[in-house]
C-alpha cells in the first residue's frame, strides 16, 4: 500500500433527524493508500453512501448531524477545509446521477464544463478537456442535448464525466453505473481501471460482487454502520463462511466449493473469472 491519502479515525455520524437516534456510521477506522483500488460493500442502510459523503466533505459541511472523529484527505482535515477546496483533491460520483447535475447547464457540453468554469480554467483549455472527456465517456454525440432529456444510463455517463473532468487524485464512486447496460457499465469500469493504473486512487461502492472481486486491491465490509472486515478479495470472499458478512460471495467461490465437494479440486477459492475457468479445466483433467 502506498502512503495513506485517506485517513479515517474513529468516525461516527448521526443524521440530525435520524428517527431512532441510530448512528449511520459508528466508530469507523481505515486508511486508503495512494493508487489503491478500494471497494466498500455491505447491505443497503449499512452506511456506504454516508461514508462517501464524509470523504468529500459533504459531511459535516452540507448534511447536518453529529460527527465525531476525523477524516483526512492528503493530510487535510475535512472538518477545517471547505467542500470547494476538497474538490480539487477528491471527486464523488453520486448514486443518483441527477444529484450530480448543476441544473444550470442547457447542454451536456455546458454540464461537463460547469466545474471547470467555476475553477476559472481558460476557455481554450476547458473546451479541450470537455472534448476529451466526452469522447472517453462516449457522450460526444449528445453534447447539445439538455441533460434532463437523457436516459438514465446517459446521465450516468455525464455524471461520471463531470466528476472525472476535474481531475481529482482520488475518485469516489457510489454505485455509479446502476442504470447502465452490462457492457456499458463494464466499459466505465475499464476506464476506471485505466485511471487507477495512472495512479488515481479509487474508492468504489458497488453491489456487483464479481466486479468488486475483479477490481479491488482491498475490500471493506460495512454492516449497520460498523466495519466488519477489511481485506483482500481472496480473504473476504474466499471462504465458505463469507456469507456471514451479510453479503453474497461471487459465483466463482460457489463453483470452487462444489468442485471441492466432488473431490476433484483442492486449490484455493477463486474470486475471479479466468482463474475459476482454469480451475474447472484442471478439475476436468483429474
Amino acid at each position: 500500500m502506498g502512503k495513506p491519502v485517506v485517513e479515517v479515525v474513529n468516525l461516527s455520524f448521526r443524521y440530525r433527524d435520524a428517527p431512532d437516534k441510530r448512528k449511520a456510521l459508528d466508530t469507523i477506522n481505515f486508511d486508503v493508500g495512494e493508487g489503491e483500488f478500494f471497494c466498500i460493500i455491505g447491505p443497503n442502510g449499512s452506511g456506504k453512501s454516508t461514508l462517501c459523503n464524509s470523504l468529500v466533505g459533504l459531511i459535516p459541511h452540507y448534511f447536518t448531524g453529529k460527527m465525531k472523529g476525523s477524516v483526512k484527505i492528503h493530510g487535510t482535515d475535512t472538518g477545517t477545509s471547505s467542500i470547494a477546496d476538497l474538490s480539487t483533491q477528491i471527486g464523488l460520483v453520486f448514486q443518483n446521477p441527477f444529484n450530480q447535475l448543476s441544473y444550470t447547464a442547457g447542454s451536456v457540453a455546458e454540464e461537463l464544463a460547469y466545474g471547470l468554469g467555476n475553477r476559472g480554467i481558460p476557455r481554450e483549455k476547458m473546451m479541450e478537456k470537455v472534448e476529451y472527456v466526452a469522447k472517453l465517456m462516449r457522450i460526444d454525440h449528445i453534447m447539445n442535448k439538455n441533460p434532463l432529456e437523457l436516459s438514465g444510463g446517459q446521465v450516468q455517463r455525464v455524471a461520471f464525466g463531470s466528476a472525472f473532468i476535474m481531475e481529482p487524485s482520488i475518485l469516489v464512486l457510489d454505485e455509479c453505473t446502476t442504470q447502465l447496460d452490462p457492457l456499458g457499465s463494464e466499459e466505465i469500469f475499464d476506464i476506471v481501471k485505466e485511471l487507477n493504473k495512472t495512479g488515481i486512487t479509487v474508492i468504489m461502492v458497488d453491489h456487483d460482487m464479481e466486479r468488486v472481486a475483479r477490481c479491488a486491491d482491498r475490500i471493506m465490509v460495512l454492516d449497520g454502520g460498523k466495519v466488519s472486515a477489511v481485506d483482500t478479495p481472496e480473504k473476504i470472499f474466499g471462504s465458505p463462511d463469507s456469507t456471514s458478512h451479510n453479503i453474497c460471495a461471487p459465483d466463482y467461490v460457489s463453483v470452487c466449493q462444489a468442485l471441492k465437494d466432488d473431490g476433484c479440486y483442492s486449490g484455493r477459492f477463486e474470486v475471479k473469472e479466468e482463474p475459476t475457468i482454469a480451475a474447472v479445466r484442471e478439475a476436468l483433467k483429474k
Partner: protein, 271 residues
C-alpha cells in the same frame, strides 16, 4: 392475459425513431424479462402496454382491446407500471396514503382496499412503515413503496422498469419473492433489467432489444446461448454461464447445480 403488438413503431416528437415495426405476443402468466443496451427501446416498448406512449404506427392490444381505446388512467387498474426512478412516482406524505391513493381513484371498495393493504404491505416488507414519509425511507424501501402503490390496484399485468437498480442481496430476494407471488396469483409480470443474474434466476422468457428492434426472443437458455448476438445489444451472460463456456462445457447453465451436472457428465465422458 395477452399483449399483442402488431407492426408497432414509435417515433418521438424529436424525430428519434425508438421502435421499428415490432411484432410480439405475450400471453399467460410466465414472467417475461426485457433486456438490452441503454437506448435500445426497452422502456419505450413497455410504455405502450398501458398507453403512457401511443403507437406512431401499428397496434397494441391488451387482452384483445386496442390500447388506444382508453386513457392511461383507465388502463391503470389492469396494467400497473412501476417507474425506474422512485422519485418520479411518489408524491404523498405517508406510505399508507401512497398505497390508498390508486385503489380509491379506481373505485375499489373500502373493504377490498384494507385487505389489499395488509397483503401488499407484507409482500413489500413495509408493514411497520406505513406511517413514514416515503422520502424518509431508505432507498430499498422507497423502491418497494412504489411497487406496493402499484400492486394495491391489483392489476393483472405488472410492468417493472429496472427494479434491481441499487438493490442489495436482501432487496433482490424480496423482488424474486414478489414476482413469484404475483405469478402464483395469476398475474403477468414484465420486467426490464440489466442484472443478468437476476434475469437468469427468475425468468423463462427473455426478450432482447437492440436499436428499436427485437434482437432475440425466447427461452432463457436459448437466448443466453447466443453469446455473439447478445454482444450486439451490450449484454453478456451471467458469470456462472461464462465460466461454463470458458471451460469448454458448451452448455448454458445458470446455477451451481446445473453447472455441476454438466461438469460431471463431461468428466465421465473424458474418462
Amino acid at each position: 392475459m395477452t399483449i399483442e403488438l402488431q407492426n408497432l413503431g414509435h417515433v418521438y416528437p424529436t424525430g428519434d425513431k425508438a421502435l421499428n415495426n415490432i411484432n410480439l405476443s405475450i400471453s399467460g402468466t410466465e414472467p417475461v424479462a426485457v433486456i438490452g443496451q441503454n437506448g435500445s427501446g426497452k422502456t419505450t416498448l413497455v410504455k405502450h402496454f398501458n398507453g403512457i406512449l401511443r403507437p406512431t404506427t401499428g397496434h397494441v392490444f391488451i387482452n384483445g382491446e386496442d390500447v388506444n381505446n382508453r386513457s392511461t388512467a383507465k388502463w391503470s387498474k389492469d396494467v400497473g407500471y412501476v417507474f425506474q426512478n422512485p422519485d418520479d412516482q411518489l408524491f404523498l406524505e405517508t406510505v399508507r396514503k401512497e398505497f390508498e391513493f390508486g385503489p380509491a381513484r379506481i373505485g375499489m371498495p373500502p373493504e377490498k382496499i384494507s385487505a389489499q393493504l395488509s397483503f401488499v404491505a407484507k409482500l413489500c416488507g413495509l408493514e411497520g412503515k406505513l406511517d413514514i414519509h416515503p422520502f424518509d425511507l431508505a432507498a430499498t424501501d422507497k423502491k418497494f413503496c412504489t411497487i406496493g402503490a402499484v400492486l394495491m390496484m391489483d392489476p393483472q399485468i405488472v410492468i417493472f422498469d429496472e427494479p434491481t437498480c441499487g438493490q442489495d442481496v436482501e432487496g433482490n430476494r424480496r423482488l424474486c419473492y414478489i414476482i413469484k407471488t404475483l405469478e402464483s396469483r395469476g398475474k403477468l409480470c414484465i420486467t426490464i433489467s440489466h442484472d443478468m443474474k437476476f434475469v437468469a434466476g427468475n425468468f423463462k422468457r427473455v426478450i432482447v432489444m437492440c436499436n428499436g428492434n427485437v434482437l432475440l426472443d425466447g427461452d432463457l437458455k436459448h437466448v443466453f446461448a447466443e453469446v455473439e448476438t447478445l454482444r450486439k445489444s451490450f449484454v453478456s451472460p451471467p458469470p456462472i454461464t461464462r465460466v461454463a463456456y470458458g471451460a469448454g462445457l458448451n452448455e448454458t447453465v445458470f446455477t451451481v447445480d446445473e453447472f455441476m451436472k454438466v461438469f460431471r457428465a463431461r468428466k465421465e465422458n473424458n474418462n
